[in-house]
Symmetry: C2
Subunit: 415 residues, 2 copies
């Protein structure tokens, strides 16, 4: 009996996970590789960063997802390069792993757009270490503020969020709930001071891809929470003590949260392929690297053109692409024609806090409490693993009833 | 109106927390200092290290405990020295904090008994960073074992626990449940290998302070779980690849968990006071440093003699001492006679796993399932905070029903 074709999937994010899931039980051997041993539900990272959820609530061990799929193996490793001629991927631990079919789904990383001072000192919000680092930094800043002289406290209590996309808006809303909750109750030293959150967005509105009425609703909700929304201006530098804006003005702040954008993971730039202006790897209609029969690229690292523009870097297209690639690999093995990818945009949503979200689903626009319930339902539905859904729901229920954000511990690094 | 006497409490562990709680609402100003912003429920640390509980389940933010006690303030700082003459404590961030009464409750740290090679490479289990480091190390060892050649896998799958006290016994039992659960189900690469846990204890029995029948019951339970129990032999070195025992024999192992003992925190050695052979600060019958009217030492850092021996380094005496010191401070302020400390030993217990524990409470000895329920009840009762009790109970219920240890994520350090 001939051995089964070997499919290597790089990345256990939304796209890679779908490929592996849909190939479970099919006549292939799948090797799923990720540098972390968990799949991360990134849409809720900001809730870890803002002390509502535990890391494990949104991080599902990959092995626990696939233990029933006998033909899917997992390897914890960082892929550093691909040899298309030799049909192997190389990992940081020195292995060279052979493939018959390769799916690259390495995702994306924080994009500082060349602003070095921000890259060095800002807090990112793109993976679990960054989210925990941000949580620790914000809580430690409050502690530091209690120990400084009154005229030095202000920058420790000023939090600048760069980027008015969903991540920036959602984190700013959650941070304002955290600060409003804990400062009056637990920081009597700070009651004379008002913590300040400033959201800076270069575009004329927050949540640029949403319809105008939703953009305005989001801005109103943010301002109702006491967040200063500054749109139409870019951030140019951060020296650790103050943020500089494009008009030369400064905001004294010890914390800059960088939610201004993402770029494809380094692996996308390390392979021999043509890339779009955004650094994503150009793929054909079947999601293969142009000119290669056996290599697919999906998700944030792939540049797929539809209606004259790139499909956005979001979980929904990544998952749809993952499912299609699994089908196309089976087609290839069976000698059948491949299917073309078509992104179905089912809408987007962003939450600003308890009882407040904006959503655009199947042309229906929702705001306020209704938007919030829609948002909650969709996110719980997509969370991997029954236990995680329970834990997240319990966390929210607790927050809803008690207005509490319980995970307020400052962890030290393991050294 | 004269300002109220200022009580500085160093350490928010079991002892220090009791002092602050009992002084809440009394005519004093309390400043509670800890290097961490949380009170840690150390008896359940091994459950964090073995993937059952989240860090925040056993770590309660100090400020959330005292937000109703208007006369208790918190400061996150590391106390480095005390000036008894000037009546100030110095912190690592450069502050000098004045006190009228001082309570030192700095606790203890891992004691490697001068075995440098273990101090450098072993995993401790005494604070939260150590517990998370151990969890990461064990899970990463399993991942590494899947990537090595078959004849190199054994040391990655061998886990040596140094110390047969409650911490070593409880962790070994929990680790065996974790390994027995995940390896057959999630590590098909390792099914030909048997993970090995070796518990090494210098005394003739595990759990030395317990009665002989309980010591034997504990040993039987450990062996039933497949743990190799080696008593009456000391561990002398660990080079990262193998553990050396006093008879010159070796155990090839990449992991050594050090649960062999604790010593008073560094602060106990940094102050001008006489110390016992174990390094604990000698205190009088009122728990004051001998010859000092205004400085109390309690908990693991204090050497209190009763019935010709030192009261043990456990949470129960620390809490009893904390309550007495709070009373004695009020007595001092009121010009009343101080009370003498007397440790009431209500018993001890240790769990070996689901449905299995040994307990000695008010002369009653319990083993097996009954011991386990007693253990569970007591630990839930003493857990600070209603939410934590809920979270821990939920974790256990999940584990009990599903035999799962869900927090199996390998977190990277925040850098």
């Amino acid at each position: 009996m001939a051995s089964k074709p070997r499919v290597v999937v790089v990345g256990a994010g939304f796209g890679g996970l779908q490929v592996a899931r849909k190939l479970a039980g099919k006549p292939v051997d799948v090797l799923l590789i990720d540098r972390d041993n968990y799949h991360l539900f990134t849409p809720l990272l900001y809730q870890v960063a803002s002390s509502l959820l535990n890391p494990s609530d949104i991080a599902q061990p990959v092995r626990s997802i696939f233990h029933r799929g006998a033909n899917v193996r997992f390897r914890k490793a960082e892929v550093t390069s691909v040899d298309f001629a030799g049909k192997t991927v190389s990992t940081a631990d020195g292995a060279a792993l052979a493939y018959d079919y390769l799916v690259l789904a390495p995702g994306s990383t924080t994009n500082y757009f060349g602003i070095e001072s921000a890259a060095e000192r800002a807090q990112g919000l793109k993976d679990l270490p960054e989210a925990l680092g941000l949580r620790n930094h914000v809580l430690a800043s409050l502690e530091t503020a209690t120990r400084t002289s009154p005229d030095e406290a202000e920058p420790w209590l000023t939090f600048v969020v760069a980027g008015g996309g969903p991540t920036g808006v959602e984190y700013a809303g959650a941070l304002s709930e955290l600060l409003r909750l804990v400062i009056p109750r637990e920081y009597p030293e700070l009651t004379r001071w008002r913590a300040k959150i400033v959201l800076v967005e270069g575009a004329p509105d927050v949540l640029p891809p949403f319809a105008a009425p939703l953009r305005e609703a989001a801005k109103r909700e943010l301002e109702k929470k006491g967040i200063e929304v500054r749109t139409g201006i870019r951030l140019t530098a951060f020296d650790g003590d103050r943020v500089t804006l494009a008009d030369g003005s400064h905001i004294p702040a010890k914390t800059l949260i960088w939610a201004a954008g993402v770029r494809p993971a380094d692996l996308a730039g390390a392979i021999d392929a043509s890339r779009s202006r955004s650094g994503r790897v150009e793929v054909d209609g079947n999601l293969r690297i142009k000119g290669r029969d056996d290599v697919f690229v999906i998700g944030d690292a792939a540049s797929f053109q539809q209606d004259g523009k790139e499909v956005p870097m979001l979980s929904a297209p990544a998952m749809q692409q993952g499912r299609l690639v699994a089908k196309n690999i089976v087609h290839l093995i069976d000698g059948e024609a491949l299917e073309q990818f078509h992104y179905r945009d089912r809408g987007s949503m962003a939450t600003i806090g308890k009882n407040s979200a904006v959503a655009e689903v199947w042309k229906i626009r929702l705001t306020g409490r209704l938007g919030w319930f829609a948002w909650l339902t969709v996110h719980l539905f997509y969370l991997v693993g029954f236990r995680n859904r329970l834990a997240v729901l319990a966390g929210w229920a607790w927050n809803y009833v008690h207005s509490d954000r319980p995970v307020r511990i400052i962890t030290r690094a393991n050294d």
